[in-house]
Structure formats: C-alpha cells, structure tokens
C-alpha cells in the first residue's frame, strides 16, 4: 500500500509516501527523524485485517510537514539526503517536495 501522509494547500504539495510493501518495519525512520514525525503503529490503521506493525506519520504532524521537515531541507542546490530516506533499507519513504 502507498500511504500518502500530508496535504496540498495554496503553497504547494507536501506528502510523505510510505510504501508498506517495501517497508520491513525496522523502525529506523522513527529514530532517525529529528522532528519525530514517525511512529510505529501496532497494526496498519488502514487495513484492519492486517495485524503487522508498521510506521505511520503522526496525525498531529501530518498537516504541518512543510515546517516539521524544514530543518532537513535547506534551500539551495546541494540538499543532503534526508535522514529518513537514508536509513530506510527498502527505500520505502519518498517525499513529494
């Protein structure tokens, strides 16, 4: 499942996509994120028949991703690889902006 967390508003599109098929539920992203936007859920909130743990974006942070993620996204051409993307072995995390 492609879980898109975030929003689109007048200033742009801000979505973090977690591909749950690529995710191995290691929980590294939760540790790596300096803004603590991820959390391990005991089971997939969007699939009640699946009781496997997986990371989600915290509901209280998903509508301010533009600001939460700002520290990892300095302006300019040489943007470093994002910590959450870097630690993810299965390359399950992508950012839309």
């Amino acid at each position: 499942m492609l879980a898109n967390y975030g929003y689109s508003d007048g200033s742009g599109n801000y979505f973090i996509t977690i591909d749950t098929d690529k995710c191995n539920a290691c929980g590294e992203c939760v540790e790596a994120c300096p803004a603590n936007i991820f959390e391990m859920a005991d089971e997939d909130p969007n699939d009640p028949m699946n009781a496997e743990p997986l990371p989600i974006v915290l509901p209280e942070k998903k509508n301010k991703l533009k600001y939460e993620c700002a520290t990892c996204k300095p302006s300019g051409d040489n943007r470093p690889t994002l910590p959450c993307v870097m630690v993810c072995e299965g390359c399950a995390i992508t950012h839309s902006w």
Partner: protein, 292 residues
C-alpha cells in the same frame, strides 16, 4: 422589530431506512458500523453482511451523543435492540469517541470497503468528498486500500465549502448542482479554492453583475479542479466511484467527469453511507475470523 428565523440553506435531509426483506432473528452476526464525520453521522446495521437498517443524520457538537443518536435513529424502525449487536466498529473523525465501538478503523479503509460493496468489485478508484476533507483512494477487487491520500488540512473543495456558498447565495444545498448548470455560458472558475478567499471572490463577482447561478457554476468548477488535482496524485484507474455527500452534487460531479473523461459508477444507495457500511462489513469479517 420582529424578524423571522433565517432559513438555513445548508441543511440537508436526514433519513433512516429498514430492509423489509430481512429479519434479524435468523442472522448469525449482526454488525454495526458508526461513522461520525465532521458534518454527518451514520449508523449502518448489517445482518451477516447484508444491509438491514441505517440512520443518517447531522453530527452535533458532541461525538458520543452523535453516535448514540445515529444508532437510535437507525434502530427506530426496527424491533432490534442494541444488545443484539455482535460487533460495532467506529470510524470517521469522531471514531475515538464512539462509546459502543469494539474497535476503530480509519475512514480510508472503510470507504474503500464500502465503495466495493455499493459499486461492486470493479471499483479501483474511490473519491470521498466529506464534510471537511477529501480522500482519494485506490483499491483492489476486494476493497483493500492500495494507495491513498487524504487532505484535511483545509476545507477547500469539501462539503463545508459548499455549505458556505449555499448560505452566501441563499440557495438550498440540494439545488446547488442543478442551478450551476442553468447558465448560458460557463463562467471561469473561481481562482481560489480556499473557502474564505473564494467567498470574498464570489461576493465581488456578484457585485460585478454575475447571476447567482453563474457564481455557483464558477465555484463548482473550482471544486472540480481542486478534487481532480488530488485524484491525479494517486493516479486514476477505472472504474471510478464517488462516495460522501458531494456525490449528490451534479454541479461538481458533472464538471469532474468532464475533466477526467471518466464516468463515475452509479448506486441506488445513499453515498453518504459508504463509510459506515464499510465499518459494518469489517465488523462482519472480524466476527467471522474470530468465530471461525
């Protein structure tokens, strides 16, 4: 000075229903799905996965009470009482506040499941335009979510926005769709989808001499544009279905259909019930799993 009560143009009709062909007495599992949304609350009762009864009403200020009232409304025409219900699932914005729920499931999962039930297993793309959010969902033939996006950051393009316009233009919300097509020439869409900006833009359009219907057309157009951009993000695959209250607004649905070049599926069910129906179906599936 005496003043009559101002009519509330945003008000839509509440309804409840019972399936006359089914008796609950023979059912193995009676499951209940309660969807407490930002604007409306629904309770759907299913007997072994079949629609038995429902209640659809406005959400009050208090979520637990809205859930109780919706259930009471659904039970009104039946001889069933609450303790006969085997399993209850709460969904929607207010799902954590449904007092009788055995567990909660997100509205995304429930709408996909509900759309699968209402429109058949061929549905791949589900759009839910609710009171205060838009959900774009892709699902497989079993109604399992494969890709989703929910925008609840702002009310742009949602039912709440339409309520504001109905009120501003004194047009009953049920007539907005038809009236938006009573224009000689389609006006350009309102440039901003933000409800507050769009409202001030609409006011200036009225001052410029546009008719009420033209302003409605301009806003319906802007909503269709907004919804289309969100749908494009998850990718549109046929068949396509719309759930939620906005599915009843032909002004938005018609303009969206034109943009997409894809006709949405039709159902005889009230589209607002999809979430609660999905919840009741999950309840049934979980009962089955538990009892073998």
């Amino acid at each position: 000075m005496l003043e009559g009560k101002k009519p509330e143009f945003w008000r839509w009709t509440e309804s409840n229903w019972i399936n006359p062909d089914i008796g609950w007495e023979e059912a193995r599992f009676i499951t209940l799905g309660i969807d407490v949304g930002s604007v409306s609350s629904q309770a759907v009762i299913m007997t072994d996965g079949n629609m038995y009864a429902y209640g659809n009403m406005r959400t009050g200020a208090d979520s637990p009470n809205s859930a109780r009232n919706a259930l009471k409304f659904a039970l009104e025409k039946t001889t069933l009482n609450e303790d006969k219900i085997s399993y209850c699932i709460g969904t929607g914005y207010g799902r954590v506040n449904v007092p009788m729920a055995d567990r909660t499931v997100t509205e995304i999962a429930c709408h996909a499941r509900g759309a699968n039930f209402f429109y058949g297993s061929k549905v791949r793309t589900v759009l839910d335009v609710g009171g205060q959010d838009i959900k774009a969902i892709r699902c497989d033939e079993k109604g399992k979510v494969t890709n989703f996006l929910m925008n609840d950051k702002c009310a742009a393009g949602t039912g709440r926005g339409m309520e504001v316009f109905a009120d501003l233009l004194s047009v009953p919300i049920g007539e907005v769709g038809e009236r938006s097509y009573l224009v000689e020439k389609e006006p350009p869409a309102v440039s901003s989808t933000c409800v507050v900006y769009a409202k001030s833009e609409a006011t200036s359009l009225l001052r410029k001499g546009l008719s009420t219907n033209e302003v409605l057309a301009a806003y319906c157009s802007a909503m269709a544009e907004r919804i289309y951009s969100l749908l494009k993000r998850i990718g549109i695959e046929p068949e396509f279905a719309i759930t939620g209250g906005m599915a009843k607004n032909i002004g938005v649905v018609g303009r969206l259909t034109k943009k997409m070049g894809l006709e949405p599926l039709k159902t005889s069910w009230d589209t607002q019930l999809a979430g609660a129906a999905g919840a009741a179906l999950f309840g049934f599936a979980l009962c089955h799993k538990r009892n073998g």
